[in-house]
Symmetry: C2
């Protein structure tokens, strides 16, 4: 597949300490696949300036898009904006358009505090990502898209951002469920995967109250080829039952 690739960078001590269960990667993955952007890496790093800068530079060089989540609030541990600016070697400033979006969210006529203004600090040259939930915008610099970690705000920002991105061929997916463990079907599966190398064929074992089973997932951009793989899988299932 020659679809554009992407990486996600999740920023936050709270994920690594086990306090918080990461919630945005699954949502992002589910949104990218149908528009043909291929998520190739998810990386979670702590609130550490040097580590964030190094990860951003590695990921933005390797992928068409980098999506970040976390660290853009008003407190001392929100260091993503400065790290992104450092990675690109640009300045950070309180921008009028960001300030106006904060003002609209806080209410016309109310005085913006230092903390509101802190959330209007944007790297030079960035494009804002509107935050319809709480006002404080995300932004894109080059191929890096900076969004909030709070899940409903992440979802809202991605809704704003995604239509503007270069997409690829939608990746289609079909599954066949086998009521046997994956060891029982490994040999014919290997043959099938070798015969259809442009498809991705994944084997996902599970256990439930009735015993072992396996879901086989076929993914690719060619619907007819996927249908052919599914027919072959159904034949394997009949032969195994």
């Amino acid at each position: 597949m020659s679809n554009p690739t992407a990486a996600m960078l999740v920023i936050g001590d709270e994920i690594l300490s086990g306090r918080t269960r990461e919630a945005n990667a699954y949502h992002l993955a589910g949104r990218l696949t149908p528009v043909g952007i291929e998520l190739r890496e998810i990386r979670v790093v702590p609130d550490d300036h040097g580590v964030i800068v190094d990860a951003l530079n590695a990921l933005r060089a390797a992928h068409r898009h980098v999506f970040t989540s976390g660290g853009i609030g008003p407190t001392h541990d929100d260091i993503t904006v400065d790290a992104v600016a450092a990675a690109f070697g640009v300045a950070v400033e309180v921008r009028d358009d960001a300030r106006q979006q904060m003002q609209a969210a806080v209410g016309v006529g109310r005085v913006l505090t230092a903390e509101h203004l802190r959330m209007a600090r944007i790297p030079a040259g960035a494009e804002l990502i509107v935050n319809r939930i709480s006002g404080a915008p995300g932004f894109s610099v080059g191929n890096v898209h900076v969004m909030a970690g709070v899940p409903d705000i992440f979802v809202a920002m991605l809704d704003e951002l995604l239509p503007s991105l270069e997409a690829g061929s939608p990746v289609l997916s079909r599954e066949v469920r086998f009521e046997v463990g994956e060891g029982r079907i490994a040999a014919p599966l290997r043959e099938l995967a070798a015969a259809l190398p442009t498809l991705s064929i994944g084997s996902y074992p599970f256990r439930d109250t009735t015993g072992y089973g396996t879901n086989i997932v076929v993914r690719g951009t060619d619907a007819a080829l996927i249908d052919r793989a599914i027919e072959r899988l159904e034949a394997i299932r009949s032969a195994t039952a």
Copy 2:
């Protein structure tokens, strides 16, 4: 903190495609923090030999422990064992002790299939990690600990492994809940974080039906110092209410 550091490498196309919600990182993080092993990175990569080898080599050089999850079953897309062996430059062989563990799980006297034997392939020099759920063992090579992706098997393998690892000073954690948005307390929080630099003070905003709120989490290895931070936070809360 001078606790040993760790990274987790999650291997699996199914996470990156959005098919499956990753489940093992949160469990691992919650188990490592109390024993003083500091999780510094989580990385999710696809079923791609070269990518896995490169990630393993980067992470094992940077951290005291690397924990992997996924890709050790019997099917064609299970390529973790060979990637780990390639990263260490060692051979892979069907080992007698691993074969015995498979045999015990399958049942004495039953003939092991090629797929069972595939799950007894272990890099030379590795120590096995017992799998009390389904038999097929995980293993440690050097500082890399290779475990299954199926969540209940990952949990069981980590139970086996963790007591054998070098631990650190337990990291303690206390929280104070504020019924105001984090912007309202950002200034005194910044002062507190600057005054107690050996503690990690995190600010986690939330929204619920009653409006905005913020949880402040204080983490560190010195219980008396954490208690002092909590007293200061409660004073800030009284002043803000």
